[in-house]
Symmetry: D2
Subunit: 421 residues, 4 copies
């Protein structure tokens, strides 16, 4: 969201990046049936066709309307229909009713994409350097936004497929039920002042900065995330029946829903199974546990006599580990057994940190200032990216955030504890 | 639903009828875009694709499974997915979630239709006479059921189209804004004992019988239904702001929704318009008022110093008037100005009668006994058929019923009053 | 509500009647603790103190304000606080929040009662004959209204006491668990035209008229209401688990609440008990079954292969039976075993008739026209009065009405069936 | 909650303290009418009589049942009725239904208080030193708990009084509308590592520790809280109509409720007024603004180009300022104009800090561990105490917490900003 000094106005690279990321979205949709495009599981989810249009609206609204003189919008009402939550961009279609938009048709939305892609391409090719310097961060932001929706396309589709008795398969997922997990090791860090947050020139969201100092008491984090098999022990030890393990809000939710297992687990003929993007599979004991709410992650940690790391601890522990792992591009579409000391991919890791502003944070002026800043309440930070996050999208300083009850994301946990200094 | 003595086992006629009515459903869907098939406005509405499947399920469940030895169902879960409300047919998919069934795809549902149509055709051709005599009424019921869903396909589509800012057009509707209405005349009937209800051999729903005696005090009914122009006078006279005109439940609903006009009316640049299946049109003053709830119809009658007829009064007044008028087959898809003394088509007419059993009524045994009988509470009777009712579907004794708040149907009213005997 | 020709202006009788009925209300409250006066179980119920004030408001609003020149209201806001549902009397305090009115205090409300009683007494003593002739029906209506609230005081208190783990006792109820019920006999009536409704000079509610003709096919009704023991057989025969016995709305309600027994029944140590105004007691098998909804009454009748009588059948069958039985004045406060052919007291009897206007019915002008008329939708008729109805309040033509789901009233059923003529 | 080394077992002091604090609760109730004791505005509030019983239950459950051999409970069901949220203490009466407990009567609850007070007194007098050392912290905790309920008695009463059209007065509040506010000054603090949290021997809640180090960038806080007059400027500048000032959740709430002013403000004849415990008064411009939600406090700060302090900043800034100011004991019952550099009393001050565990925090074992720990999610920290907080209850390290939407408390804000180091 900030790009103060562009190293070089490499138009070809940006245009190629644009084409690649936009194309990746459409590749993800290529596996859908025509009937799936309108599918909206509930108010938290958006239909694929709406997401195809909304990501396009983002480029049209913030790049074309701003930087292309005399730009004529593709359709006079798309600004209303495909604005998500930007108050500064005017009124918008109700989120809960996105699944009612059978029109425009999916075909018309693909035409909209082509229309906008052509004009962005033209803008990147023909803008003068000064304009390009201003367009660049907007397009960069739009591409990161598009990548977030690639993840959402899959996480929003999953509950609708999971509830369907026909249990549709989005794409095959390897069955790794027989693999064994690596041992978890403690990695310790001494008390002291650390710097966290983003400081460099590359793309990052505004909420990742300013870089600033924090004091951390001594701590240790695990070398890998909690596995499905470990979480199963918690379940079978009565984890969902012991109030003392839960935050009050989490316990209330469990009792209200009479919940006794995590999302997407079910039983078939007495055997525990999990619903995946590849259909119903056995539990993968060695793979990271996923689709946990913050409450579940926190309860598991308490059961284990441990705790979640804060986001500062996580970032310090991640250090300069390389960004590698099981991301969207692996095509795996489900968490796979972890490698030692890998902090990225597989599952977003809940932290103990509520989502708040870093010291000195100021949101940008105008609509784009709403991207992250206005959500800094009632949400918890997750770190690391997941098996449906595009690899180029993630950073060590990346702050994902969701309300603590959220289970739809590929979210798990890494354990932490105090260490006497 | 009862066909005790079939006049003649005319297999060809029944098969042709079957083909024609099933084809009419698919013709209605031919105007839809692929995106429309999953569209479910709310829990009261069903998506087109679900209706295409459900009407097919009806024939498979009640005809093929009962009368075709060794019938193998098209799909083991379609019985669960496409049962509507038949408790005796087992559990079923929740009504509110019909819009989540992106799978089976629409294409698969059309295959299901072909599968069942082929087998029904074969059954009608090859059954022995005795079997045919038992199959006949089931198929007849299934066809009447299919016709009900033809009407519902359109009334369930309309709110979703109406709320869409793009205001899609299902099919062109003639603009008859300049036509003048015929004058309304009183038709009087003396006090006395009358017979109402169905008694003949032809198809009729179980709730239309037994034929029985009622005593009616002297009454008169209007020669035509209330027009849009007349209802507009009520609106502009403050009809939606005068509590004294309304039943308590109707008034509560008006105030809760801050309602000041009927469904599908809106204003554009200060001019009142109506949303129709042909898009947004000016009000048609001469055409029958439609999309009224029972509460609105009742309030209008009270405002006029009159009342709604009871269903017995309506049936007596309709006498042996011919079944003609503006039905689905006219292609008009909206009420058109009335002819004098025509009781059928255009708009369903709310009566003052709650939906109850006629004396001596007994529902059939088994699942088909649930068709009508279990709804005999909290609903009001409507008579006469509408502009989206297939013409061959309606009868003088036909009892339609909906909860009094229902506005989605093409429903209006005919005025009545007491006449001293 | 109508009193066209007063036989004689017997001021003393009316004043004595006024004093007696008003006093009876306060006698009912004498058994309450101070803490009970604010108790509102839910939106359907009103706190005792609100009822004490509302009934007083009725006299002040419709008698004193109308007929006492220069009447100064007791308090300027009581008109707002204690209006129930009379739109013509202006805005009012929300029904759901009556339990928030800790002020005015109960003591102030008793002062309000005294204030109004004094002025009504004075009005009855000093009005000229012409004024008295107009006041009389209003006061008569107010007293009948007061009597309705005597019943409501107890039926609204009961659920709040029943849910309290301390299970408070309002007043001792005799345990008649060991009594045996009388046998039920059929009383048959031939088909023909009958007159029903009120026609005389005595007090009656407007909805009881006009007297009019109805045609009834031959029918029979039982000589007594259904007993608790009989209903227990239904329960133990799986009545709450058989969808085929229930109207659709009733079944939905049962399933939603996972109901398997009627209101106020519970189990203690494996024994079925009932909560009464006298606390927890064993079931009284011989006593009339009570606290049934219409759905339950209808389901029971269906289970028995029978049906509920219509209100016309009930009224014809009741003929000129004397108004005697187990009423409020007996102090029993619970249904007691029936006598043969007694139609009154013990339990209100659900009929098969929705609450609609009789032919020619016109509500009165003004606020009092709202008393009954605006509720003529979505309710069912009950007949006969109950063990908490004041005896002088009931008539053969009396039409009580409640939504079909209502279980809070002392409501049961009498069986009926067709009889070939 | 922790009292590791008691300086001296001064039984008299503790007993006197017990008597004084328990008596203070009853003094607060002495101003209530009998009718007020059952009053429950909504699920967030508890009736006075329930609070009188619940605070007593606390002593009986955690002191008498634990430390008095053969203690016989006052009533076998009070444990069920008056447990608030302690899962480890067993099931409990639903919070939303506390207002249904007309029984036990208020008189019985006062008897319960006497019963428990007598036994606590006896325990404190007769326990051996070792037992006393264990009882002491429990009794101390119970007294602090009692003090929290003294505040809640008034904050829970206020909305019920405010909604009552009679606008009852709890106790007179001085009208200080004409006073002028002191000027606000910035107090700056340099960047560095600080210690926060409780470390001493005196009573403190578990969530106030462990004492630990934090790094703070340079900051400044205001010398006083925001005044009503300043907040009025925000309101009149369209603060409630500018989405850009609000967190997304706060804005959604404003729009849903169509809110355009803070809680307890209203207009009378075009003049803005505030409802206080002393009834309706003019706005007190110089007094601290109160009854703000976190969202409102945050929006105001944003409007002012500033921010809220974190709780660490607040604690550092409060330094060793004396605990003095406008507390419950002043009898003022409403915020009064501030003194310079006073951090305590008047209004709880929202901080920018979500309520989370301090590093190394461990809740106590058993039911008392539920006191604070299980609420560490979805709540924000407030500091400083209010005009209805007992003075002896507050500490510099005291962490109050409420969900960000809470407006019922006497809650305002103190402004802060970054200061370059």
């Amino acid at each position: 969201m900030t790009a103060p000094t562009l190293p070089k106005h490499d138009r070809q690279t940006l245009a190629a990046n644009y084409a690649a990321i936009r194309g990746q979205t459409e590749d993800l949709c290529a596996r859908l049936e025509a009937d799936d495009y309108l599918l909206q599981y509930d108010v938290e989810c958006s239909p694929p066709k709406w997401q195809l249009a909304h990501t396009t609206w983002f480029f049209e609204t913030f790049a074309l309307k701003e930087f292309v003189p005399d730009h004529r919008p593709f359709h006079p009402q798309f600004g209303f229909l495909f604005n998500s939550y930007y108050e500064a961009s005017g009124p918008r279609w109700a989120r809960a009713q996105r699944g009612l938009l059978s029109r425009p048709t999916t075909a018309e939305i693909y035409s909209y994409r082509t229309f906008v892609d052509d004009r962005i391409s033209s803008l990147l090719n023909t803008a003068d350097d000064e304009t390009l310097a201003r367009v660049w961060p907007i397009v960069d932001l739009g591409l990161n936004h598009e990548q977030q929706h690639q993840e959402l396309l899959l996480t929003d589709l999953k509950p609708a497929f999971a509830c369907n008795p026909l249990q549709p398969v989005y794409a095959a997922v390897d069955d790794v039920a027989s693999v064994t997990a690596i041992p978890a090791k403690w990695r310790s860090f001494e008390a002291g002042v650390h710097e966290i947050g983003h400081a460099g020139n590359g793309f990052h969201f505004d909420n990742e900065g300013p870089r600033h100092r924090v004091f951390l008491e001594g701590f240790a984090v695990s070398s890998r995330t909690v596995t499905t098999g470990e979480y199963l022990e918690f379940v079978e030890d009565g984890g969902y029946r012991r109030a003392d393990l839960w935050l009050s809000d989490g316990w209330a939710e469990c009792r209200q829903d009479q919940r006794d297992a995590p999302l997407y687990w079910c039983e078939r003929d007495g055997v525990r199974m999990q619903f995946t993007l590849g259909g119903l599979l056995p539990l993968h004991h060695a793979a990271p546990m996923t689709h946990l709410s913050f409450y579940e992650a926190d309860a598991f940690a308490r059961w284990a006599g441990l705790r979640l790391p804060t986001e500062a601890e996580w970032e310090v522990a991640a250090g300069d580990a390389p960004i590698r792992g099981n991301f969207l591009e692996s095509g795996c579409l489900h968490p796979a057994p972890e490698l030692q000391d890998n902090f990225f991919g597989n599952v977003w890791q809940w932290t103990a940190s509520p989502y708040t502003a870093y010291p000195g944070f100021r949101p940008a002026a105008g609509a784009l200032g709403e991207y992250n800043g206005k959500f800094m309440c009632n949400q918890m930070i997750l770190r690391g990216g997941s098996c449906v996050t595009p690899q180029s999208h993630i950073r060590r300083t990346y702050r994902n955030f969701f309300p603590p009850a959220t289970r739809r994301q590929f979210s798990g946990l890494r354990l932490a504890k105090e260490v006497p200094s």
